[in-house]
Symmetry: C2
Subunit: 270 residues, 2 copies
Amino acid sequence: METQEGLTLVVGLGLIGGSIARALTAAGWSVHGVDPDAATRAAALAALAVRHAHASLADAMAMPSLVVLATPPGVTLDLLSYPWPGGSIVTDCAGVKVAVVEAVPEQLRSRFVGGHPMAGNEGRGFGASDPELFRGRPWVLTPTSEASPSATALVERMVRALGAEPVPMSADAHDRRVALLSHLPNLLAAILVGMEPDLERPDIAGGSWRDATRVAGGNPELWADIFTLNADEIEGRIDQMVNRLEAVRRALEQRNRAALLATFTSGNAQ
Amino acid sequence: METQEGLTLVVGLGLIGGSIARALTAAGWSVHGVDPDAATRAAALAALAVRHAHASLADAMAMPSLVVLATPPGVTLDLLSYPWPGGSIVTDCAGVKVAVVEAVPEQLRSRFVGGHPMAGNEGRGFGASDPELFRGRPWVLTPTSEASPSATALVERMVRALGAEPVPMSADAHDRRVALLSHLPNLLAAILVGMEPDLERPDIAGGSWRDATRVAGGNPELWADIFTLNADEIEGRIDQMVNRLEAVRRALEQRNRAALLATFTSGNAQ
């Protein structure tokens, strides 16, 4: 079940890149990987996730048809300026898209299609990778008007080969949505977990604590990148959350049961 | 497998009371129920959760050894003043304990042991009840110094019969802990869900959104009661959350990556 696609080079073999490499290889794609960590390369080779694992881009001599940047967003921004071969289509997996799209250099624009898989788990690194991670999940693609149809088509084929569903969207709309759907919830989880040392051991924590804090185990470097790069949208959502928390605080001070009831009723419209 | 315990009367056959009745009956206890809703009574009888289901306390003639108040906290406060027979031990399941303990009238104090099962789900009503709901879960008990040892012992036997683990604690400590472990996370979930209508359909929501909002489907009346009754502790936790959100907002404005990294690193200490 070899496909007709050429070589795909996955840069970064962590949770996301490792999952992509394993799933593409399982789908018959020819996949090479790049990761600076020797143990990660060894694990990826042992899992047959990649045919070859290179320590650096300079070592990866073969000309890839497709390059998948699965690096932390800050690294992804730097790699956009790498002198990719003229025949390579490039995509990325960063959780912010405006900053990425704006950083694409002139000579790469027709061959770049930004992407963001709406999937993940609390794990980190190749050890947490899972070829089924993307199955049935949305995968946002943000091709600009400059992207060539063949570039977009190849990246869409990759997304479908991973079992995911391509969702075309502008980079702006993506960043606005994920500020609420992903970035704010992750921030709240991190703050909640950070508040817990104030407390005696949470030996009586129930399901709401577990649910609220489950996502707090992510890679701090990655989240610091994402927040820096989507700062404006996240600031707006923080303001909104603070305003609503302060309204609830006033309702509590005034023992205003009707206002509390309204908060929990509107919060019920799932 | 009939036990030697006398009659247990469960007041309120919703998610919690229904689960208690079903689990106690399965453990061989003799259980009667009270619920004003005819459909709930019929469902409880059909499920063999109770031997008899009464529409009101006045109809429940038999003298119970144990009364379990499984009503919304506001109703529980009112029921503490009911003229319970002198031989009945009384416990409750409210998610706040100081307000309950303070409302226990003089003549009931030796026979009252406050309780709070640290379990639940997003469902409501008898239809969501589950005899396994409490298995392996903590069940906070807040007997005061006035409670008789035999009252505490009977309520502990009930908790163990439900498969739960009794966790003795002062009412103060309980209310302080649940303000962070349960009340604040539930508030954040309700606010997040309330913010979603501002957004285009969240068709790209990932796991962090689902986790963060999962608990938002609870009974608004019950949550309005809990927040009113634990207002001081919750106000303190809201202030703490607002302060930390505002610190993150300042870090974002200043593009202070180190401060963001610290937030996500301390939020990682699970």
